[in-house]
């Protein structure tokens, strides 16, 4: 009798402990989360395996070695339809990275111009920049990309009537043609010497900075040494018999042959995203510059700093601290956003892999995992590298 009552009390106590003792409760909740996650995962997994068995497509990455059999309209690395899906994946990655690198570079430059224009004392310039930002960031990017592709670049003249400059650059409704370099075997020497010169230059730059910091004077013969480096590279280049040719694009029948080529889809995606992101980068830059205390500028003027040097040594280093973290996020967004070029058929990763390859092989899970894996790696790498750099910049304070 007494025993059973005791047991009841103790069971009551454990029940109360489950709810009211925070240490126990937190363990219970965590176990619950794990159990729920695993049971949902198990449910989904069992469905997947059953569905795959019915479709006779067992999970596996074996397909990446099989022949793709379709052509990719533009590739920076050699590709033809007899190559594997793995190669297609690589082509997509290279195209994505090249597109986003171009967008990052130019949108950052344009964004800085816009940001500085917004702070101009000239009313017209400031208002112009303001409405530029407001207009381009409030219209969806996809519409802008399609607009540039359909309305601007596709209505350019046909190859025979293309716009040409100096018979070397051509623009038509297929794309942009430009001279491309052809490296002869002898170019190796120039490349090696050039690389050595670059290392020397970095070394020189560092030691000159150190010299200036310790003595307050500029290093003697600094510019002469730079010229000497340049001269050495030139001499090697000429000495090995100028092993560099240029191929010019030329009209052969209905299309251009030779030279480099950028398809209109690339150009449209590039222009649209550069403009779209330059608006947001402009806002970031403006906020960063505005975050600097006006006392800093007044102090610079008081000690007689010229305006350009004020910008270079007072404003930019301080603004960089405020600008860099959001700017890094915007760059990451650009890498992700470059996937929107799929809408106009630019062969980037999502287009060649998630659309064409997925339709051909039907391997949804593997392909989705591979594509998402790439974007995750890219995001994590960029954010890691830039956070390191950011840390270095932020440390200088105090």
């Amino acid at each position: 009798m007494l025993d059973s009552k005791d047991r009841q009390v103790s069971s009551n106590r454990t029940l109360k402990k489950l709810i009211h003792d925070s240490a126990v409760r937190s363990k219970v909740i965590q176990v619950l989360v794990v159990v729920v996650t695993f049971s949902i995962g198990y449910y989904l997994f069992s469905n997947i395996s059953q569905n795959l068995r019915q479709m006779e497509l067992p999970f596996g990455f074996g397909f990446i070695t099989s022949t793709a059999g379709f052509d990719v309209s533009w590739s920076l690395i050699p590709y033809d339809p007899s190559m594997s899906y793995g190669r297609v994946y690589l082509v997509g990655i290279v195209n994505t990275l090249v597109l986003s690198a171009f967008i990052i570079l130019f949108s950052t430059l344009l964004g800085f111009v816009v940001g500085i224009m917004r702070l101009s004392r000239n009313l017209l310039v400031a208002q112009f920049a303001k409405w530029y930002v407001e207009f381009f960031r409030n219209v969806p990017l996809l519409i802008q990309i399609v607009f540039w592709f359909i309305v601007v670049f596709s209505t350019l003249p046909a190859p025979r009537q293309s716009f040409g400059i100096f018979d070397a650059l051509f623009l038509n409704n297929r794309g942009f043609y430009f001279p491309s370099p052809v490296f002869q075997p002898g170019f190796v020497w120039t490349a090696i010497v050039g690389a050595l010169a670059l290392i020397c230059f970095i070394f020189l730059k560092r030691s000159s900075n150190r010299f200036r910091k310790s003595t307050g004077k500029n290093m003697r013969y600094y510019y002469q040494l730079l010229l000497a480096l340049l001269a050495v590279v030139t001499v090697v280049f000429i000495g090995t018999g100028k092993p560099l040719d240029w191929t010019l694009p030329s009209l052969q029948g209905f299309n251009f042959e030779g030279g480099g080529f950028i398809p209109t889809a690339f150009a449209a995606a590039f222009v649209a995203m550069t403009i779209y992101r330059s608006a947001s980068i402009g806002e970031t830059v403006r906020a960063g510059i505005q975050s600097i205390d006006t006392g800093q500028l007044e102090a610079a003027t008081a000690i007689g700093f010229p305006p350009f040097k004020t910008l270079r040594f007072i404003v930019i280093p301080q603004a960089a601290r405020a600008i860099l973290p959001p700017l890094i996020n915007l760059w990451l967004t650009i890498v992700k956003e470059s996937s929107l070029a799929v809408a106009i058929g630019f062969p980037e990763l999502v287009s060649v892999f998630m659309q064409t390859s997925l339709n051909q092989t039907g391997r949804a899970i593997e392909i989705v995992l591979m594509v998402m894996g790439f974007y995750m790696c890219a995001s994590l790498t960029i954010s890691f590298l830039l956070n390191q750099y950011n840390k270095r910049i932020q440390m200088q304070e105090g």
Binding site: K336, E337, V350
Partner: protein, 447 residues
């Protein structure tokens, strides 16, 4: 001798210091012009350059879009014959019904208007000054309105539970407006008439129970009145246009809030499993582009479920967008949570509030209030991002506009629809961003 003589000669030969330059006029129209536009050589050059650029950009655009535009025509050929180098807005006007409602059957479009209208009417009291408990009104709208709206939009037989919840939603709306009228008349609210009766049996929370009783009575009444009321079934395949864009973005932003709050709380939790689970979800979703999530939802999601299950493409897309928006919302909410001073947590703890009470009544109201501008900003970007669903073949505003160019009457007409929807998106997004900026100023002013 000599040193004494020098000051004397200087005194004798008075040399006036150069006179100061005339005062620059900074008032009046010319002064304003000088200060803002023509101060100095470079400034003037800049002004002229920007002015020329604007002239070169705007003049052809205005000529094309307004002066030479065609507003009424029945085909592109007719447009071109009237004005070859003007905009053909006739196409957009002819298609405006499709652009707004998609391919929703014409005689049934009143249901969309009614549904959206009810939503606006429901949210209107939030702007009234005398109304209290706005959070409850908002919460009820979030929970119940989707059932009522989907009942209207989908039509057909949606099951008894859906019908009951839709009735409750309608009843709540009626009750809300009755109460508002009573409040403005200075009389007792509907529920309060039951209070004295209920107090006899349940003395605690009689006011709340009074309202609930009235709601129950009204719901039963409405469910009874509309018992034979049936709507024609409309498949989600024909949903489209601005309507679909608003559905996807509206539903996703509403669902993103609770998902985001839970994930943000999880990320700051003391429990390692919960914390890592939240961090993994947030970071995984945020590191991939939205288009890959959408592709995943249409290609991979069907494999997750037994193939006997009938999946709806719109539902798949909305789930994907919700998860995506939720992860972003989590970071917004986290920003708000981090801005709350630690003293608030300590104070809540010291008066004996548990975790959920602290969060629900102390922390989240403050955090969310401070985050409203950011939430509006994420809504704007979500609203713009819904255009991506056109890539996977949902007929949203974007794809509907693109389809004008394959209509046989307007074949090849690309520019005008794109410009039109750009303007539409611009108006929507610009208004919202202005609103959020005003809110931000308003909120920071009180501090």
């Amino acid at each position: 001798m000599d040193s004494q003589a020098t000051p004397k000669t200087e005194l004798l030969n008075f040399i006036p210091s150069p006179s100061r330059p005339p005062v620059v006029i900074t008032h009046g129209f010319t002064g304003w012009l000088k200060k803002h536009l023509f101060g100095g050589f470079w400034n003037t050059l800049l002004t002229i350059a920007v002015f020329t650029l604007l002239y070169l950009l705007l003049k052809p655009f205005l000529e094309w879009s307004l002066v030479k535009a065609v507003w009424t025509a029945s085909s592109r050929r007719e447009c071109l014959s009237i004005s070859p180098d003007g905009a053909c807005w006739a196409a957009v006007i002819r298609w405006s019904n499709n652009l707004i409602y998609g391919r929703y059957p014409d005689p049934l479009q009143w249901r969309i208007n009614l549904g959206i209208g009810i939503g606006i009417i429901w949210l209107l009291p939030l702007a009234l000054k005398k109304i209290k408990h706005k959070i409850v009104i908002g919460l009820m709208a979030v929970v119940f309105y989707p059932f009522l709206a989907s009942y209207l939009f989908l039509g057909g037989d949606r099951g008894r539970l859906h019908y009951v919840i839709a009735s409750v939603a309608l009843a709540y709306l009626f009750m809300l407006y009755m109460n508002i009228i009573l409040i403005y008349l200075g009389k007792k609210q509907t529920g309060q008439y039951f209070e004295s009766l209920i107090e006899r049996f349940v003395p605690r929370r009689a006011d709340l129970l009074g309202h609930l009783t009235f709601l129950l009575i009204l719901s039963v009444l409405i469910a009874f009145i509309f018992r034979d009321f049936s709507l024609q079934d409309v498949s989600t395949d024909v949903w489209g246009g601005l309507f679909l864009t608003i559905i996807i973005s509206g539903f996703s932003i509403v669902m993103a809030l609770p998902i985001g709050i839970l994930l943000a709380l999880g990320r700051r939790s003391q429990m390692p499993v919960v914390r890592w689970f939240s961090i993994a979800t947030i970071e995984l979703v945020r590191s991939v582009p939205m288009i890959t999530v959408l592709f995943m939802s249409v290609t991979m999601m069907p494999l997750f479920f037994p193939n006997t299950m009938d999946l709806n493409k719109l539902a798949q897309v909305i789930i994907a967008v919700c998860i995506f928006a939720g992860a972003y919302m989590a970071e917004t909410v986290r920003g708000g949570l981090q801005a709350i001073p630690k003293g608030q947590f300590d104070a809540a703890k010291s008066i004996g509030l548990g975790y959920w009470y602290t969060m629900a009544f102390i922390i989240l109201p403050q955090a969310l209030r401070a985050m409203i501008p950011n939430i509006v900003t994420s809504f704007i970007s979500l609203f713009k991002d819904t255009t991506l669903v056109s890539i996977i073949g949902l007929f949203d505003l974007m794809l509907m506009a693109r389809n004008i160019s394959i209509d046989k009457n307007w074949f090849g007409l690309h520019t005008e629809p794109l410009v039109a929807i750009s303007v539409l998106f611009f108006i929507f997004c610009y208004t919202m961003s202005q609103y959020s900026q005003r809110l931000e100023r308003h909120l920071t002013k009180g501090r």
